[in-house]
């Protein structure tokens, strides 16, 4: 067991380090050889998208490597650099919980909705998934993150200001641990819910043909109890594993949803730093912030994936037996 955990933790650390180094290199490259420095003329030049004479120095790897080692030393001490005299670590510790709240809650909601939806879409008589369910889940999976939110926002606006009321039924943006949470969580939960529903319905349909289900039904158990007590523990590891694998897309969706709803989490910070929508960029560019934020997000994805693996390990006794054969 400990060997399992150790190997996983080492993998997480190595991946994190690699990603951090990569982003640091990219950020420094941008900062020093692509953008002129933060002078007024430089900012103006970039704002008008001139590809002016960039200094044609080759990237100096050794200097960058030495700086990176210094940066790493700072990270170990807890110092991630400063931005406008604010330590970046404060930005991270301020915004990380907000992102985590949204992520965690949305995964919870997605699991509930997905499992319920998946269970409902399998017919107990024919042991098959309906074609309609397949379409709905594929549809849910292929909705871009923002489209659903825009549909929700437009819907709310129809029942709000355009009907003469002064505000909409649910708050459209901003941070708050109350009704502000509803819309972003729903929007973020859509895709994992669709994935979970699809997995649940497929696995349910498969399990329903097996003998132990037949036995349970022959004993007189109603379907509800059969599913809950007998089939569900077989599904749980697969569902948790799938949640862990989907963290990558979940974080991507998180970034967009945070931006649309102006939720002040880490995702919105990423977009703020590299935003290009208005055509002007530079006031918010800060390389160290970008490195820190992206590394933190990657760390969150990795840790969530690791957590999913641990939970799978705990929930599925068969995995435990494989690695520690019973004595005697």
């Amino acid at each position: 067991m400990t060997q399992f955990m150790l190997k996983r933790i080492v993998t997480v650390a190595v991946v994190l380090l690699a990603v951090n180094a990569m982003i640091y290199g990219l950020a420094r490259y941008l900062d020093e050889w692509v953008f002129p420095h933060n002078t007024k003329e430089g900012a103006l030049m970039i704002a008008t998208f001139f590809d002016a004479d960039m200094p044609a120095q080759p990237p100096q790897i050794m200097t960058m490597a030495r700086d990176y080692v210094g940066y790493l030393g700072g990270v170990l001490r807890g110092d991630l650099g400063n931005r406008n005299n604010t330590p970046i670590i404060i930005t991270i510790t301020d915004k990380l919980p907000k992102s985590l709240v949204l992520l965690g809650l949305s995964l919870l909601v997605a699991s509930l909705l997905g499992i319920l939806g998946g269970a409902l879409s399998v017919s107990t008589k024919t042991h098959q998934t309906t074609a309609l369910a397949a379409m709905l889940t594929t549809g849910g999976y292929s909705i871009p993150a923002f489209y659903f939110t825009i549909a929700l926002i437009a819907l709310l606006m129809m029942f709000g200001p355009q009907m003469g009321r002064s505000r909409t039924l649910l708050p459209l943006n901003g941070y708050g641990l109350d009704e502000h949470l509803i819309l972003p969580t729903l929007a973020l939960a859509l895709r994992p819910a669709a994935e979970i529903a699809r997995l649940t319905s497929e696995m349910l349909a498969e399990e329903m043909g097996k003998r132990y289900v037949l036995t349970a039904r022959a004993k007189g158990l109603p379907w509800r109890l059969v599913i809950l007590r007998h089939i569900f523990p077989n599904l749980a590891p697969a569902i948790v594993a799938m949640i862990g694998n989907s963290m990558r897309y979940q974080i991507s969706s998180l970034v967009i949803i945070e931006w649309v709803f102006l939720w002040p989490g880490l995702g919105k910070t990423v977009i703020d730093t590299v935003s290009m929508t208005r055509g002007f960029v530079i006031n918010s560019w800060h390389p160290l912030t970008m490195v820190a934020v992206i590394s933190t997000l990657t760390l969150v994805a990795l840790l969530a994936s690791l957590l999913a693996q641990v939970v799978t390990w705990v929930v599925d006794p068969r995995l435990r037996e494989q690695h520690a054969p019973a004595a005697g």
Partner: protein, 336 residues
């Protein structure tokens, strides 16, 4: 093997819908610009629908002549959409093909050398790439490249560097299964070299996967393009313009006029005007969603058939594909 989907035919409901929608998308890409009612770049700053009525853009949907409305420069949405599907689809095809090639090569390496060092390294590389959040990495890379005359290449690189892992997983799984088949062992016993085995026996097994992989990749790529476009990263052109305000006190405002229509670009610009003209965003989003849904639906239903082993092998050709009988287990091809 139990059949858990509803129909026994080779084409089920999902596949029909997917095929129809994909066909619709491709037809739009091919002949869209020819049937567009207006010039997509023509700006109409004032129109006169009635004798005494003047309208200023943005026109809402339903205005005669501008059936889906327009953007804030008066350019007809329907025409722009019809024009825009083609470049987006081409770009998505390009990116999907790159991802597919990368994924197949790396997946085959991982599956074929599954017990050796090379396979292990390929697997580690895949897991490493799969744990980097895709959108964030793409944003960073695009940000880097956009400032250096980025165009389609920026998107191709940004989306392919970590995007091949989905395909690689499926291909690796399949190759690993094929590796254990008895006919491979028999071929080796008969003296066939590794290369011959790969070409004659392994690659045809991957051929049957190709439509599935391509559809799913197109769907995923279009999804990411939609999200990137929404955030402001698109491959279309921009023109620099200046909005001149009449008063001497305020500065002239440099603005970007969206250029040649492309779906991601239309999304990006519609979002900035969302509260004045929500219809543009909704309509563009719907079009994007339908294209994504088309490819995903096709890919998913194809995948369901292939994974259950109901799909005829490459040797059987078109005749079997259009036959409406389910293959029996003995019909599976296993030749040397």
């Amino acid at each position: 093997m139990q059949n858990n989907t509803k129909s026994g035919f080779l084409l089920n409901a999902g596949m029909v819908i997917g095929l129809l929608l994909v066909a619709l998308t491709i037809i739009t890409a091919l002949i869209g610009p020819n049937i567009a009612p207006h010039d997509p770049m023509e700006q109409n700053l004032v129109i006169k629908p009635g004798v005494t009525r003047f309208m200023a853009p943005p026109f809402p949907p339903g205005t005669p002549g501008y059936w889906l409305g327009s953007d804030m420069f008066g350019r007809d949405t329907l025409s722009r959409l019809l024009w825009a599907v083609r470049p987006t689809l081409l770009m998505a095809l390009f990116i999907a093909t790159t991802r597919l090639i990368l994924g197949i090569i790396l997946g085959a390496v991982e599956g074929w050398f599954a017990t050796k060092q090379v396979g292990d390294s390929a697997r580690s590389l895949r897991e490493f790439s799969a744990s980097i959040p895709l959108l964030i990495f793409a944003i960073v890379l695009l940000f880097v490249f956009q400032f250096q005359q980025g165009s389609i290449w920026a998107f191709v690189i940004a989306l392919s560097v970590t995007g091949w892992t989905g395909t690689a997983l499926i291909v690796a799984e399949r190759v690993r299964l094929v590796r254990r088949e008895p006919y491979i062992e028999a071929a080796r016993a008969l003296g066939a070299g590794e290369w011959h085995i790969l070409v004659r026996h392994v690659i045809p097994q991957i051929n049957t996967l190709l439509p599935v992989l391509l559809s799913l990749e197109m769907g995923s790529v279009l999804l990411i393009l939609a999200e990137l476009g929404f955030l402001g990263f698109y491959a279309g052109g921009r023109q620099q313009a200046t909005l001149v305000t009449g008063s001497a006190a305020t500065m002239d405002l440099p603005i970007m006029i969206p250029g040649f229509p492309e779906l991601g670009q239309m999304l990006a610009n519609s979002w900035t005007q969302f509260f004045q003209n929500p219809f543009l965003t909704i309509i563009t989003g719907t079009v994007f969603f339908l294209t994504i849904f088309a490819f995903m639906m096709l890919g998913e239903s194809l995948k369901r058939r292939v994974m259950k082993g109901d799909w005829p092998s490459a040797r059987f050709g078109l005749a079997r594909i259009f036959a409406s009988q389910k293959l029996k287990p003995d019909d599976r091809v296993a030749d040397i």
